[in-house]
């Protein structure tokens, strides 16, 4: 998979790299980027050899500074916009990825860039990172799940503040409130993301996938349902582990 206009896809061993690659416009998310990501992630999703995916932004200034607003107001109609959104559901695809997604974040992480980061499982930031949701000043609301994913990650109180007041958040506050789980200097960002990816890749693939699903699906369940789900995943992981041991033996 290569030759994409707006992203770079690379694969090193069992780790996939997806780089948002429109550095001259701060990697803003466009229709073409949606189509490129949709194609790449659909491929990655079914590739059982890939154990972890790193998402990053090209250039010095931004992971992704939001949506490309020059393309807004061009949708033929709201009916068409809805149809496309539901048929080419990149956000649903991101949410359904079986492999852990690791976001390596630097510079501006705004709007849909922040929403992409929120679909990742592990967020690592460089110390120059700055998060923001500018939708209130644009007459829109987040449309890539941000109103749902953000409160689940940083709580309702801080989510309302970021959204309603356009408050931006820097690296240390992001670490304190759990928006990112690791903070490193800019020159160590990719290296740290790779360490995390390699560590995950060294574990049983079934254990990693099942643990991810147990956490993500369990959040929407009653505790009792979640416990039952965990038990099923646990049995499944053991069976897969035994199978792998037999295959290797």
């Amino acid at each position: 998979m290569d030759g994409f206009e707006t992203i770079i896809y690379e694969r090193v061993g069992n780790i996939a790299y997806v780089t948002l690659n429109r550095p001259r416009v701060l990697n803003v998310y466009s229709v073409q980027m949606r189509d490129d990501l949709y194609e790449v992630l659909n491929g990655v999703k079914v590739d059982e050899e890939i154990r972890a995916v790193i998402l990053k932004g090209a250039g010095e200034k931004a992971f992704c500074a939001g949506a490309d607003l020059s393309e807004f107001l061009t949708a033929p109609s709201v009916v068409k916009a809805r149809q496309i959104r539901l048929l080419r559901d990149l956000w649903g695809l991101l949410r359904s990825m079986p492999q852990p997604l690791i976001a390596a974040l630097h510079g501006y992480v705004f709007g849909s860039g922040m929403e992409i980061a929120l679909f990742c499982d592990i967020r690592i930031a460089a110390d120059d990172v700055i998060f923001g949701l500018p939708e209130m000043g644009l007459g829109i609301i987040p449309g890539a799940g941000g109103t749902q994913t953000l409160p689940r990650v940083i709580g309702l109180s801080r989510s309302l503040d970021m959204l309603l007041t356009n408050r931006r958040m820097g690296a240390h506050e992001a670490l304190d409130c759990g928006l990112v789980s690791r903070l490193v200097s800019g020159d160590r960002l990719l290296e740290t993301a790779e360490e995390v990816a390699r560590q995950i890749a060294s574990y049983s693939a079934a254990a990693v996938r099942n643990a991810k699903q147990a956490v993500l699906q369990g959040v929407d369940m009653t505790l009792q349902q979640g416990m039952e789900l965990e038990r099923r995943f646990s049995v499944n992981t053991r069976v897969s582990g035994d199978q792998a041991a037999t295959d290797n033996g």
């Binding site: 607003l69 000043g137 644009l138 007459g139 829109i140 609301i141 709580g155 309702l156 109180s157 929407d220």
Partner: protein
């Protein structure tokens, strides 16, 4: 316009600045505040020119809230808080000084909380043989997480402004003398943004809390697409592309 005895309110541009007077000595004070907040909430909800609400009050005015009618008496403490939670515009709580019990629960029903330096916050009802009854047991964990909420509710522990800020219980801490200036300044800033975006974001966040993430994303998408039909979306995006300030009309 309804006349109010326990509250004052005025319009400042796109903002409604409401203040609950702190003189809680008169009999039936809490019930009157509850009734007046109910009237005010209805008035504001129907007013298209009000885009942001500031709700200022002395946090300790409500300490007598439960005792007012006795633990089983009237009014139900929830009746003070419910009208505020129903306001569709963003509500900024400007809490003067300490807020314990009902005083804190009222702030929890607002969207943004401003506190003064050196203030203390807590839900001490359990120590009095009661439980928080104006949404505290439900809103606190949703706002700051279950771990910290259980600690506050079960032990009655108080947190000071600095810790309240750190754990996200309040969003800004300011010197007491500057509280109203900061609150109204923030409200004016927010008032310049899209009123439809702000009220839809509230619906998506609060509504989504009770849904699975898939359901919540469908709610968000419905609201997102509904905004395609508005003048304000065209204005917001056009203004951005033309590098000028948008003028939102709320339609």
């Amino acid at each position: 316009m309804t006349t109010y005895r326990e509250l004052t309110w005025r319009k400042e541009g796109p903002c409604a600045v409401v203040r609950v007077q702190g003189d809680a000595s008169g009999a039936g004070w809490t019930a009157r505040v509850a009734n007046e907040l109910e009237d005010l909430s209805a008035e504001i909800n129907w007013d298209e020119d009000t885009r942001v609400v500031v709700l200022a009050y002395p946090g300790n005015a409500f300490q007598s809230g439960v005792a007012d009618g006795g633990p089983w008496g009237e009014p139900d403490p929830g009746s003070v808080v419910a009208p505020v939670a129903q306001i569709r515009q963003p509500v900024i709580a400007a809490v003067e000084g300490d807020a314990m019990g009902l005083g804190l629960e009222l702030a929890l029903a607002c969207d943004i909380r401003l506190a003064t330096e050196g203030a203390h916050f807590g839900l001490p009802q359990v120590a009095e043989g009661l439980i928080p009854s104006a949404g505290g047991t439900q809103r606190l964990p949703r706002l700051i997480g279950q771990s910290r909420a259980l600690d506050m509710i079960l032990t009655g522990k108080t947190v000071d402004s600095a810790e309240a800020l750190r754990i996200g219980l309040v969003n800004r801490v300011v010197p007491a003398t500057r509280l109203m200036e900061v609150a109204t300044g923030l409200a004016q800033e927010m008032g310049a943004r899209s009123p439809l975006s702000m009220s839809y974001v509230k619906e998506a966040l609060y509504g989504g809390l009770d849904m699975t993430i898939d359901q919540g994303m469908r709610l968000e998408l419905d609201l997102y697409l509904l905004l395609f039909s508005t003048q304000d979306r065209i204005e917001g995006i056009t203004a951005f592309n033309e590098k000028r300030k948008p003028e939102f009309q709320g339609r």
